[in-house]
Every structure is written in C-alpha cells, then in structure tokens.
C-alpha cells in the first residue's frame, strides 16, 4: 500500500514537471498565438489587443498557475485556433490513436508470441536462423519507411487499400478500422521483431534453467512444460518491453499519421505547435505523459505482484 502511495506521488510530480517544462518551452519559442492568428496584415494594436484578450500578456508563471488551476478542476482550456474546449478536441482524436495502438499491440502479440516460442524451441535450427535474420532486418526498418513501402506496394500497385481514404469512426466504423490496418502494421512490424527477439532469448534462458530440465527429465511433454512453466516466467521481462512498446507505438503513430494522412492526435499536436495553440499542446502532452506514466505504474505493480523483491528495490 505504501508502495502504491509513493508511486502515485511520483506520478503526480512527474506530470507537474512535464506540464511545467512544456509550458516554459512555449514561452521561449518565437511567435505567439495572437500573432499567428492575425497573420501579416495585423497592426501592433490589434496584436496587443488580442494578446490581452487571450491573457498572453500575463507573466508565464501566472499563466501556468491559471492553467493548472483550471486543469485540476477538469478544464483544459479552450483552443485558440478552434474556439473549442480542448478536452472535446482531444476526446475526438483519442479513438483514432487508441485504435492504432490497440491494433498495433495486437499485431505485435500475434507475431511475437508464436514466433518467439517457435524460434526459441528450435534454437539454432535452419528455420530459426532464417527467421532471426529476417527479424534483424525488419527491426532496422524505420516505421515510416515501412509505411511508404506499404503505401507504394499495397496502395498504389496492388490497390488493396486507398491511400488517404481515411473515414472517421462515426461515419463508417468498418471503413475506419480497415484503413487503420496498414498503418498499424507499419507501426507494429519493427516492434514485433524486437518482441520476438526478447521473447526468444527470455524463453531460451528459462529452458536452460534447472527446473525445466528437471521437468523434462520427469517425462513431461514439451508443450506442457512450455505452457505451464517456461512461458509464465519468460513473460516477466517481456512484460516491461511490451509496456514500453505501447508508449513507442503512440509516438510512432504520430509519424505514421503523416505517412497515411490520418487526422489523429499527432497531426493535431504538430499543427497546434506551429499555431502556438498551447492549451491544446499542453493537453496532449500531459495526456500522453500521463498515459505512459500510468502504464509504467501498472507494470510496476504487476511486477510487484509477480516478484515481491522489486518493492524493496524501489
């Protein structure tokens, strides 16, 4: 319990640091939302008036305080560019990235578990070597290049899907899911390769443990040993990797959004940065950070459940 309280404290401190840093960052970048909104024809007076209206003329710390006060009460402010509540805008985009993350994650599991176990149990064989070589290559392909390749081969040449034909989930849920398959694969493949490698070496380590040898020597069947003992133990180190992967998928989905022109949180973030629309930027950054911290937090707790020693160490 004390552990959880401590971790929660850490979580809050982390989020405070993240939000504060990004807030400070924005006061350093040249240009502000008022200038951005008014463009090149603006007079000095107009800019000043709008800056006043937006509250941009207040000192940074005061603005941060105000933002934090609102944030705590669940109000993330209003976008300068869209005159919409930030939480509404972000809530609109969450399904897009969440779907990509979930699909990507599912694909990773789909590839890595069978391949990881298979290669580990056939360690050193021809097929293992072949698969591991492929694996190494796939690992080294940048996600966006894979995206470009998929667009070219499956989109332009084979015409299996229409690049750019994204539909929003509210419009056509099936079409939405179908369109996200290609980018999810592009995100997931390099990560799957890493996961295969992790799982493989983890399983191999377990296979050489005494308890496994004992189990085999007692005449247990391979499948049973693998399923019962090895996998359970082998998954522990892989768990962290998967958790980290989710954060990575999230980040990668931002680049892949560009490749596949998906209007998700990434494109919102990028345009908001260039519009100096900092309520939106703040919202997204804090949200992503919170998500990552929460995942790590969950993994830590799960870890603690599986292996009580971690608590002491932390």
């Amino acid at each position: 319990m004390k552990y959880i309280v401590k971790k929660t404290g850490t979580l809050i401190i982390t989020l405070l640091i993240v939000s504060f840093l990004s807030f400070m960052a924005f006061s350093v970048i040249p240009g502000d939302a008022a200038k951005s909104k008014l463009g090149t024809e603006a007079t000095k007076e107009q800019v000043e008036a709008l800056q006043h209206e937006m509250g941009l003329d207040k000192p940074v710390l005061v603005r941060y305080g105000l933002w934090l006060k609102d944030f705590v009460t669940g109000d993330m402010g209003e976008s300068y560019s869209y005159s919409m509540p930030v939480q509404e805008m972000i809530a609109d985009k969450i399904p897009v990235n969440l779907t990509m993350v979930l699909m990507g994650f599912f694909i990773i599991l789909l590839f890595s578990i069978p391949l990881g176990i298979f290669t580990a149990s056939h360690e050193g064989g021809m097929l293992d070597r072949f698969l591991m070589t492929c694996n190494q290559v796939v690992m080294s392909v940048p996600g966006f290049f894979l995206g470009i390749l998929i667009t070219y081969v499956f989109g332009l040449v084979l015409k299996w899907f229409t690049p750019g034909a994204y539909v929003s989930p509210s419009e056509n849920f099936g079409g939405f899911l179908a369109y996200l398959i290609a980018p999810s694969i592009a995100i997931a493949l390099p990560k799957s390769a890493m996961a295969v490698k992790m799982l493989r070496s983890s399983v191999i380590t377990q296979l050489h443990m005494d308890y496994v040898r004992t189990a085999f020597s007692r005449g247990n069947r391979t499948g049973r040993v693998l399923g019962r003992h090895v996998l359970k133990n082998a998954l522990i180190p892989v768990l962290t990797f998967w958790a980290m992967t989710i954060a990575d998928i999230m980040a990668n989905s931002i680049i892949l959004e560009q490749v596949f022109t998906i209007p998700g949180m990434g494109s919102l973030l990028i345009t908001s940065i260039s519009n100096r629309d900092y309520p939106v930027v703040q919202g997204i950054i804090v949200l992503i950070a919170a998500m990552v911290v929460l995942i790590n937090f969950t993994v830590d707790i799960l870890y603690g459940k599986i292996d009580p020693r971690i608590r002491m160490d932390a």
């Binding site: 982390t14 990004s22 970048i29 360690e123 050193g124 080294s140 966006f144 290049f145 390749l149 954060a247």
Partner: protein
C-alpha cells in the same frame, strides 16, 4: 547455449562488416562522389537508374548515389554525435546517481522519469520548436532525449557493481570515489555501455530519419537519408528509386549497428 554463442559471434562479425561497409561507403563519400551531390541538372530530372547514374536522379536532377553517400555521412554524424552527447552525459549522471544514491539520485531520477514518460520523438519535436530546425539542433535535441536511457542503464550497472567485493576492497585501500567509479567500476560495465551505445546509435539514426522526414531535421540542400526519404515520397508513383536507395541505406546502417550491439552484449557474457 553453445549454438547461441556461435550465433551471437556470427552477429558480431556480420554486424561489424555491415557497419564497416557503410562506414567505408560514407568515408569514400567524403573524398569522392561520382557527381557533385548538390549539382542540379534540368536534363537529368527524375532520370531512372542507369550506368551513368547508378541510383538514378532526383527532382532536381541530382545524382542519388552521390547524395546517398553524402547523406549517409550526415546521418552517421548525427547519430554518432547524439550518442556522444546523450551517452556522455547519461553515463555521468548514471554513474553518480548509481554510485552515491541519496537525494541527488532521487531528484535526478524523478527528472529522468519525467523525460522518459515522454515519447522521445515528441520531446525532440518540442525541442526543435524552441531551438529551430537544423542539423546541430537535432543533435542537441536527440542527445538530451537520449540521456535518460543511458543514465538508467549506467545507474543500474553501478548499483549492482558498487557492492561487489572488488569495489569494497578498493575503498578499503583508500581509493577516491572518482577513482573507484571510473577506474574500477567503469571498465566492468563497458560491454553493457557499448551495447547501449550501439542501440542508441541505431535509435538516433532512425530518429534523425524520422525528424528529417517531418521536415524538422537536416536542412536542405544538405543531404541526409531521412530528408531524402521525406522529399522523395511525393514522387513515389513516378520515381520510386528516389525513396528506395536512401531507405535501403538507412536499413543497412541500422542493421549493422543492431547486429553489432547484439554481438557486443554477448561478449559481455550475458
């Protein structure tokens, strides 16, 4: 176990030769390229690969082979410099926090957590918004982004080493903390550190490509592999070779170093 070891040293050899090959490729690029990588030629616009232009030409009629040679150099430089900055500072932070622990450790690790909880490309994006785009700013941004992972790795290594007997005896013999940290402990962590560096280099190469792809990395007309990929996507349907060769170069570079890191890890006896 034996097979695995063999496999791993195989990785080391393949990785080293691939990395070596790419290194040679870019070194040659520094001294000689078939054409001036920046020279434009209206007539050769989108020329397909041929004997004159092995990799074809891009939208300005620039020779892609020459640009890939130069671009590999740029990308390599960014990756290496990033690892130097991120690895150097991360190593120091990790060494001190791991060795001494205490409140400094607590503060720095909280800070570390904050940075780590941020997807690296996002953080780099925010950095670039502040610093402005450009090769050196990318290095700086990625370097900072990479500090935490190095710091973490080094820290845990130092924690596990600091209670070892050889450290205790060194301390008994009156060696200074700095001496213990850098003369005694550091060499023992070297395999892990090197492997981390190789992975870091790999990530830096991919991140540079990704950032240049988003248009915030290396500035035109400078060639970098990511920049070339990003520019070529517009011509994917008509001139796919513009994307293919820089893409392959990125993969080879990344592959070489990931195999290398694998092999190194093995040498470390893990």
């Amino acid at each position: 176990m034996r097979k695995d070891r063999k496999n791993k040293s195989g990785n080391l050899i393949i990785g080293a030769s691939l990395a070596g090959f790419m290194l040679l490729f870019l070194l040659i690029g520094l001294l000689y390229t078939p054409y001036d990588p920046d020279a434009m030629s209206g007539g050769a616009k989108f020329a397909a690969p041929s004997l004159a232009h092995l990799f074809g030409c891009d939208q300005f009629g620039r020779d892609i082979l020459s640009r890939v040679m130069k671009g590999t150099g740029t990308t390599f430089f960014v990756g290496a410099a990033t690892v130097m900055i991120g690895g150097g500072i991360g190593l120091l932070v990790g060494a001190f926090t791991g060795y001494f622990g205490g409140w400094l450790d607590e503060i720095l690790m909280r800070f570390n957590d904050a940075v780590v909880s941020f997807p690296s490309i996002l953080l780099a994006l925010v950095f670039i918004s502040i610093l402005g785009p450009g090769k050196y700013n990318v290095i700086l941004a990625l370097g900072v982004v990479f500090i935490p992972s190095f710091a973490r790795m080094t820290r845990s290594e130092f924690i596990s080493q600091r209670e070892m007997d050889y450290v205790k005896s060194a301390r008994l013999m009156g060696a200074s903390h700095l001496r213990i940290m850098f003369i005694h402990i550091l060499p023992n962590t070297l395999p892990t550190v090197l492997a981390t560096a190789a992975i870091g280099f790999n990530n830096a190469v991919l991140a540079e490509a990704g950032m240049s792809y988003l248009g915030i990395g290396v500035q035109p007309p400078d060639a970098s592999l990511g920049r070339m990929l990003s520019e070529s996507q517009a011509y994917l349907a008509t001139a796919p070779w513009c994307a293919l060769f820089p893409g392959v170069a990125v993969i080879l570079l990344a592959l070489g170093f990931s195999l290398l890191s694998d092999g190194l890890q093995k040498k470390g006896g893990k």
